[in-house]
Amino acid sequence: MHEASAAEAIVKMTSAEAMARKAGRVSRISLVVGEATGYMRESLEFYVAASAKGTVAEGAALDVRYVKPLLSCPACGIEFERLRFSFDCPACGTQGIMTKAGSEFYIDFIELA
């Protein structure tokens, strides 16, 4: 269900944009998704396709670009990807702090035809 409401919002925003620009249809939707949000590509594809039925976004290609969550090390300052159950800095072992990277969820661009 998580992806269903997201898909509805995506279809609503992109078709409104197509209408405002007097385009015939939305041919591509490109999303940026932080991996910490847990949105699955397959689910997004499924729900966007379902929500888009009968709208100008019907049949639009969906690109999903994932962004890895990054932690920053308070000791040596580097940013790094986390390991499974550890937040420790690979360089110095200090425990890292979560950054904003990895929590993105936005429509980057769309293509209209």
Binding site: A23, F105, A113
Partner: protein, 227 residues
């Protein structure tokens, strides 16, 4: 034709949440969005807080996929509670809160607690008009929750750890939990609270009062700046 949108998927929800929050703020109502897994102790915690924030007026919005068991339990205790049944949706959103607020009569200067759907994933993604989120985690769920659901913890201003009385029985590793929390929510204080006895809830009630007073002072300063 390519159009650079660069727009948040939930911008409409977020804008409405901002509007709801401004309306509540103007009336001095402090709103807390309570996140946590099913059975973590959210309703128990709200009950324990209601006892401690009295005599201030306090209302509760209960979000559930189905059933109004929690709402009826709170009402039986004399707590002003309202039910949102999402009928399958895994989180509350701003339009749901706007709709139910139209049916509630909140007093100025009161507390509003919103118990979100039991789930550590989707509710974390949505602002619904709150001043802050708190996340309730129980020892019984295991100590790996901050690692598995970082967003729920990182977006919360405080973490409440319930069921500490069961920690030994379930092998809860407090050090591991705290280390995970320190990474994802370095500024969030942790309050151990027993949801049944209320032990530990005084400190959380005090922290909430301080958070409310600090926000009131900030808004007053901002109003003064504008005037």
């Amino acid at each position: 034709m390519r159009v650079e949108l660069k727009r948040a998927v939930y911008e409409e929800n977020d804008a409405l949440a901002g509007e709801i929050n401004r309306g509540l703020r103007e009336r001095g109502i402090f709103t807390v969005n309570v996140l946590g897994s099913p059975g973590a102790g959210k309703t128990s915690l709200i009950t324990r807080l209601a006892e401690r924030l009295a005599p201030d007026a306090l209302s509760v919005i209960e979000g559930d996929v189905a059933s109004d068991i929690d709402t009826r339990a709170l009402r039986a205790l004399g707590i002003d509670a309202f039910q949102i049944e999402t009928g399958g949706d895994c989180h509350l959103n701003a339009p749901m809160i706007k709709a139910i607020l139209g049916r509630m009569r909140l007093s100025d200067g009161s507390w509003l607690f919103i118990e979100n759907i039991g789930n550590l994933i989707c509710p974390a993604e949505f602002v619904i008009g709150e001043d802050l989120k708190i996340v309730v985690a129980s020892a019984a769920e295991g100590s790996d929750k901050p690692y598995k659901y970082p967003t729920a913890f990182s977006r919360s201003a405080a973490c409440v750890l319930t069921k500490g009385d069961l920690a030994q029985a379930v092998g809860f590793d407090e050090g591991f939990f705290m280390a995970g929390l320190a990474s994802v929510a370095p500024n969030a204080p942790v309050f151990p609270v027993n949801g049944r006895t209320g032990a530990g809830a005084d400190a959380l009630a005090l922290w909430l009062r301080e958070a409310r007073d600090a926000l009131t002072a900030r808004s007053a300063a901002a109003d003064h700046g504008r005037a």
